[in-house]
């Protein structure tokens, strides 16, 4: 308190007295370790807007009128901030900056148009830099997120090339509404729709026990190129994400791409060669004449007596898929402009022949300062991706690779002789033939353009008023082409042989924000930042799918079929919002934030109603207090924080409409009531979160962050099952409440930091639990096929992610897909010119319904079917369910990278001065997976991205591991 009074007195004193003199400061900012100049470092007078940046030589020159002394704050991204009090003119100041290994000076997002230093933040915001992200290359960005943040769970839906990943922040937030976070790339909201490929027309997966699509779709975040990313901010909870309003209940992932920096241009070239291979084989049953006869009848015995066995799994999943990835990044600029250009190409071949993924991307980022008052940034990205995804997952037609394989005993030869594929008598299809002759391609052309213009309206010593316009467009077209020629066994046997499926999806997302940001230094110790703005956000998705059957021989076009089925679906969502936010920083010790966002949306029943999403947070750096001095050596930094916030989740578009659907017969056009009844009163779900935690720096060697959150989710959007006698299957209601809570802890430790040996390490721990606290409807089933096959069930008082099943006629809880906890261990070593890093990801618990094994049991091909356990399991089917539900615990070596960087001099002499950096290395992704789970991978989802019910496996595309040889060259 005394400190406060002194400050105020000083303030009054300094305001009342004018000094007719000036302070001139000249100096240089450089990297203390390498002695290289730092271009564009910020030099600011504490508590004012006065300041400058270093020039191309790392030099600065600043003249402060009316001052004879000043406290200077020198900062640069990735380095520890230096604060220094200076009296009198100085002409050779030098600031040697130390790398910020513990990242306390890192800047994190705190609002729609503002950011804050992490050490001052009142929320747990997770940040990862591009460098940490791309230790080991992967096909898609979302794969890179696994294990890197506390509270972020990433689940791969299948091993199919080209993605399909579920990213889940702080556990379950919804039952039926959008379950993926909001992704914002350089100011533009990205479309992350997962459009079904349409192969359901062949697999008929929705034809039996479950009407949810199971086409193994890709959610479109997969298109982004990890190499372009400068940093990712993850706003995990509502308290941090509230300012993003009605679409932020699943958290917000804010991605910033690379900028050029001043100084000499930088150039990077990366080349990767590698291959993908199957992680694990399940094996196949060894038959005797008797078991062959019992399981496959007379024909089975005949085939068995031919005396040969074949490893179908090896044949189908045993490819070593070659991978090659090249990328260049080029950046540079001067004090007014910067550029960053990148080109990327990746080609992946899958572990199944004829599957693979190819992606190309071009990016250009430009910034320009037209004057001191106007800043412009433009980001442009073009991406083309093409995925051949095979035919996997559940079916009701015996056509997918997995179902066909499960039906085929090892003694039957599927391989072609003289180009003729044997007719598989044990399955509708010959998986090898299907693999060789079919096509299932997904081609995406995507353009993402965004930009911002910042007008500085007012700039005085203690006031700054900016007007910031940001906006962007994310536009893509996706073509799904699946062709099943007439020669395929199941097509030949079809009443309409030959199927061609053509899906065309176009998507356009655009958003435009206007923000006013006012920054006011009431004194050198008291800072107010006010931001307000309006938002316009539009989504427009148009998807058509045509299925042509009875194809003319050799033809693929839709008009070459005797019958065509066409469907079209449009999603239009328009949202309008406003926000206002106030941030107060007092003494760099107390931090207060309050704000509110209002949103209205075309998806709501009442399109004119603004729903309000408030937030408030406070943080205190306790370590600044005097009483802390005794602890200062052990805990130099200690901050307590608490935050509250609310976010929403839009009702799915169309939920409010009761419409008819076409049903035609004999060439007459008809209409029948849709199976879903609309609800004209539908509202967004609301998630209200309280988060408390602390951040500590320990001995200047490490940091420890801990957060606890508790959220109440109300107005849950439910697809309530209606009694079918109403004529409808379901209706959409706001009818339930859920509570979730969880813990997150991260410990970073810098074990060694020296010129020869560096070792830093990070451990993340996170766990979450959910309970359905109120359900206005009777308990109901969500995903799954039947009670006896295990399914997900929403029941008041129970975990939202519980798995139930029939045990001798009684429906019981048998498991839960939410893991007990997840941990990850990240280690980076550097010894002389060698670097080694690895990431181990441990998921403890979380149950999975393994229906792959059930199918092989019933079809008589499980390897252990002749053992007592196998027989018991088979006999238990229909009576009990627990045998189908397995523990999905795993420990995976997600990333391993080992490299050698050649000494600069050597590189310069080899390349004649052209390059200065040269690194070679080896790396691998998902190299080791330790699990008791008996099928391919407990990381699986037959139904794609699901808030609840992803842990169901039905003959998926098996997971693969990847090995790479890396070359990196640059200057």
């Amino acid at each position: 308190m005394r400190h406060v009074l002194t400050t105020m007195l000083l303030l009054i004193f300094s305001m009342s007295v004018t000094f007719a003199q000036q302070l001139e400061l000249v100096g240089r900012v450089y990297d203390k370790e390498t002695n290289e100049n730092l271009v564009g470092a910020n030099i600011v007078v504490k508590g004012t807007n006065l300041g400058t940046v270093t020039d191309l030589d790392g030099k600065f020159h600043i003249v402060l009128p009316n001052a004879k002394s000043a406290t200077i704050v020198v900062s640069y991204i990735g380095y520890k901030t230096i604060t220094k009090y200076i009296e009198g003119n100085r002409y050779n100041l030098s600031f040697g900056m130390e790398p910020d290994i513990l990242k306390t000076s890192e800047v994190v997002v705190s609002g729609l148009a503002s950011s804050i230093k992490k050490e001052n933040a009142a929320n747990a915001v997770a940040v990862v830099t591009g460098k940490e992200l791309t230790t080991v290359p992967t096909q898609t960005l979302d794969q890179q997120l696994a294990g890197k943040f506390a509270g972020v769970s990433v689940n791969q839906n299948s091993g199919a090339p080209g993605g399909g990943m579920s990213v889940n922040l702080r556990g379950v937030t919804t039952i039926n509404a959008e379950n993926q976070p909001l992704y914002i790339l350089d100011g533009v909201i990205l479309d992350n729709t997962a459009t079904q490929s349409g192969v359901n027309a062949v697999t008929l997966a929705t034809g039996g026990g479950n009407s949810n699509f199971q086409d193994n779709p890709v959610n479109r975040i997969a298109d982004l190129v990890p190499d372009d990313i400068e940093s990712i901010n993850v706003l995990k909870g509502s308290s941090a994400a509230a300012i993003y309003g009605a679409k932020a209940s699943n958290g917000v992932v804010i991605i910033t791409t690379k900028h050029g920096t001043g100084g000499k241009p930088t150039f990077n070239f990366h080349q990767e060669f590698g291959f993908n291979e199957l992680i694990k084989k399940l094996g196949s049953r060894k038959f005797t004449a008797k078991t062959a006869l019992d399981a496959f009848g007379q024909r089975g015995l005949e085939e068995f007596n031919k005396g040969k066995t074949y490893d179908h799994e090896e044949e189908l999943y045993g490819e070593k898929g070659f991978v090659n990835q090249s990328s260049i990044g080029l950046g540079g600029g001067n004090q007014t402009s910067s550029y960053y250009f990148s080109a990327y190409h990746r080609n992946d071949q899958g572990i199944i022949k004829n599957t693979g993924y190819e992606k190309q991307s071009l990016r250009l980022n430009l910034t320009h300062k037209f004057s001191d008052a106007i800043d412009v940034k433009v980001y442009a990205n073009y991406i083309r991706s093409s995925a051949d995804r095979g035919l996997t997952n559940n079916d009701n037609s015996g056509t997918t690779f997995g179902i066909s394989l499960a039906s085929t005993p090892s003694f039957f030869n599927l391989l072609p002789t003289n180009g003729v594929y044997p007719e598989n008598p044990f399955s509708a299809s010959n998986a090898i033939q299907t693999r060789d002759l079919m096509t299932n391609n997904e081609l995406v052309n995507r353009t993402i353009v965004s930009g911002s213009v910042n007008f500085n309206l007012v700039k005085t010593e203690n006031q700054l008023l900016d007007f910031l316009i940001t906006g962007g467009i994310d536009q893509y077209s996706q073509t799904n082409k699946a062709v099943f020629p007439r020669d395929l066994q199941f097509e030949k046997n079809s009443s309409q042989p030959g199927t061609s499926i053509l899906g065309e999806t176009t998507s356009e997302n655009n958003n435009l924000y206007f923000n006013l940001i006012h920054n006011f230094f009431a004194s050198s110790d008291l800072n107010f930042r006010t931001a307000a703005g309006v938002q316009i956000e539009n989504k427009n998705l148009n998807s058509t799918s045509s299925v042509a059957e009875d194809l003319i021989v050799g033809q693929e076009n839709i008009d070459q079929g005797a019958s065509v089925t066409v469907t079209q679906n449009r999603i239009i969502q328009r949202d309008r919002g406003f926000f206002i936010q106030e941030e107060i920083n007092y003494l760099d010790t107390y931090f207060l934030t309050g704000g509110v966002r209002g949103d209205k949306s075309s998806s709501n029943g009442n399109v004119d109603k603004y729903f309000l999403f408030p937030k408030a947070s406070a943080a205190v750096r306790v370590s600044k207090f005097n009483f802390w001095s005794g602890l200062k050596n052990f805990l130099p930094e200690f901050k307590l924080r608490a935050a509250f916030g609310r976010t929403g989740n839009s009702p799915i578009p169309g939920a409010k409409y009761s419409s008819f659907v076409p049903a035609n017969i004999s060439g007459n056009g008809g209409l029948i009531v849709a199976t879903r009844r609309g609800n004209p009163n539908i509202e967004p779900e609301k998630t209200t979160e309280v988060e408390v935690g602390f951040d500590a720096t320990i001995l200047d060697k490490g940091t420890f962050e801990f957060s606890y959150y508790n959220r109440d989710i109300s107005d849950l959007i439910l697809f309530r099952d209606l009694p079918p006698s109403t004529g409808f299957n379901q209706e959409v209601i706001n009818g339930g409440k859920m509570n979730t809570y969880g813990f997150e802890a991260s410990l970073s430790w810098n074990f060694f930091s020296g010129s020869d040996f560096n070792w830093n390490s990070r451990v993340n721990y996170y766990s979450t639990r959910s309970t359905i606290t109120q359900l206005d409807v009777p308990a109901f089933n969500t995903l799954g096929f039947a009670d006896v096959l295990g399914r997900f069930r929403i029941e008041e008082g129970k975990s939202a992610t519980q798995i139930v099943g029939l045990e001798n006629g009684v429906l019981k809880q048998l498991g839960d897909e939410t893991p007990d906890f997840e941990m990850s261990f990240i280690n980076n070593f550097k010894w002389k010119n060698f670097d080694l890093s690895f990431l181990v990801h441990w998921k403890q618990g979380g149950d999975v319904i393994n229906l792959t094994k059930l199918l092989t049991d019933l079809l008589g091909t499980t390897p252990d079917l002749d053992t007592p356990e196998g027989k018991a399991r088979l006999a238990a089917f229909g009576k009990t369910t627990h045998q189908l539900i397995e523990d999905g615990t795993y420990v995976k070596l997600r990333e391993l990278s080992l490299g050698y960087t050649f000494p600069k001099e050597t590189v310069q002499s080899i390349f004649g001065g052209l390059f200065s950096r040269f690194r070679i290395g080896v790396s691998g992704h998902n190299l080791v997976a330790i699990t008791d789970y008996s099928s391919y991978d407990p990381e699986v989802s037959n139904f794609g991205n699901r808030a609840i019910g992803h842990s169901i496996e039905v003959t998926p595309f098996p997971s693969s591991r990847s090995y790479y040889f890396d070359i990196s060259l640059g200057f």
């Binding site: 010593e461 009443s495 059957e549 017969i665 004999s666 060439g667 209409l671 009777p778 089917f877």
Partner: protein, 422 residues
């Protein structure tokens, strides 16, 4: 470095922003469903056609259920164990009240009824007569599945009424058919809408009424009201002089939004699923042409879950072949059934023998000892896979005569009430 107040042209900025806001923000938030018409956009014709098309939705599940439980067929589906498991009472297992085998067809029938009720609320007499007849038919399909467990009949409003038992349900269906009869009689000489090819012979109110009366006869038989059945039959299209195939069909086609016949399978394909139960051939009288025309022997037997058959079926001859809802052949047999019910064996004999002769068999003499069994046999072979065997045997308490394929199998008497109805 100098600092000054930097006020750029704020007025210009505000104008530009306002314009941007206007153009970007002026799109309406309130718009109609981009994907489907609302109630206001429907017409009598579109609702009628929707009803006809909807009658086909999930009907295959009904046919499979009746055929498998009635041991007319196996449905050997490697992807779903329930067709050979719970449906056949394997090891005494009960039917799953939430399973698709029950719920899919059940729900789709009520969906058609919802369309019918919409039509009744706005259509003319012809449309009402049509809609009520179809409601009766659809309710009967569901009652056939749940039998003593009953159905819901009060479903026109937002919230359905309670379950009613079999007797009450049959009375309601019968009454619904009679109301339809009145509407049809008031409907003039032609309908104000077009019907599908499946109703080609029944597309005027007068002709459609004959289908209505056929249904009435079927219901009366289930009620064992034999006089009512005979009266209704006399007003139906029963006719020994007409083709046995004459009747009402579900039409199938390859057009946009149309459906294919789900019972048809390419005869020699490896992946066929609907196999004839071996007893159908084993129990047949030598020379019965219905066996040879509906069943063929495949080169390889197929086995799944302990069930083996090498017999395919050709009840439908192509993927666009219409599938019967009610045929002259059934009506002739219903007439015999009504007469047998009354104990008039002599009156039943011409109809039974007409059917026998049509199948290449010699005539028989009926008496109290053999008449019912003979009738059930003729129904079994004449109406194979058309959705009757299980229901007919149940009516006369003869489910225990069905063959059991595996030790532990049971024949279900009826399906449970769908769990979603409670």
């Amino acid at each position: 470095m100098k600092f000054n107040y930097k006020i750029i042209n704020i007025k210009l900025l505000l104008v530009v922003s306002a314009l941007l806001l206007f153009f970007a923000g002026c799109q309406k938030l309130d718009f109609v469903d981009p994907n489907g018409p609302s109630l206001e956009q429907t017409t009598t014709q579109s609702l009628v056609t929707g009803i006809e098309a909807g009658m086909r939705i999930d009907y295959e599940f009904y046919l499979r259920d009746v055929a498998v439980i009635g041991r007319e067929a196996y449905y050997l589906e490697p992807s779903d164990p329930r067709y050979t498991g719970t449906l056949m009472g394997k090891d005494g297992t009960n039917l799953d009240p939430s399973g698709f085998l029950l719920v899919r067809s059940w729900g789709s029938r009520y969906r058609v009824i919802r369309n019918c009720n919409t039509l009744i609320s706005r259509g003319d007499d012809g449309a009402k007569g049509f809609a009520k007849t179809i409601i009766a038919h659809q309710l009967l399909m569901n009652l056939n599945m749940t039998y003593d467990n009953g159905i819901k009949i009060d479903v026109a409003g937002e919230t359905p009424g309670p379950f009613v038992g079999r007797v009450e349900a049959l009375n309601f269906i019968s009454k619904m058919l009679d109301e339809a009869k009145t509407d049809l009689q008031n409907a003039g000489s032609s309908f104000s809408f077009k019907l599908s090819n499946g109703f080609a012979d029944f597309n005027t109110p007068a002709e459609f009424l004959k289908f209505n009366r056929g249904l009435k006869a079927r219901v009366a038989i289930y009620q064992k009201k034999y006089d009512d059945a005979l009266t209704a039959l006399s007003e139906s299209f029963v006719d020994q002089g007409a083709s046995l195939k004459k009747g009402v069909y579900l039409d199938y086609g390859t057009g946009v939004g149309d459906q294919l016949n789900p019972i048809y399978e390419v005869p020699n394909a490896t992946n066929i699923k609907l196999f004839t139960h071996p007893s159908f051939v084993a129990d047949a009288e030598p020379g019965d042409t219905r066996v040879t025309s509906k069943v063929f022997v495949r080169s390889e037997p197929t086995t799944l879950d302990g069930l083996t058959s090498n017999l395919g079926q050709t009840v439908s001859s192509s993927s666009v072949d219409p599938f019967p809802l009610m045929r002259n052949e059934e009506l002739i047999l219903l007439r015999a059934e009504a007469n047998i019910g009354k104990g008039n064996y002599g009156a039943a004999e011409p109809d039974i023998n007409f059917i026998r002769q049509s199948a290449g068999l010699s005539s028989v003499t009926l008496d109290a000892n053999n008449a019912l069994d003979e009738l059930l046999k003729q129904k079994r072979y004449s109406l194979f896979l058309e959705g009757f065997r299980w229901i007919d045997l149940r009516l006369y308490d003869k489910l225990d005569t069905l063959p059991l394929d595996r030790p532990g199998d049971v024949v279900h008497k009826q399906m449970p009430r769908p769990s979603t109805e409670n």
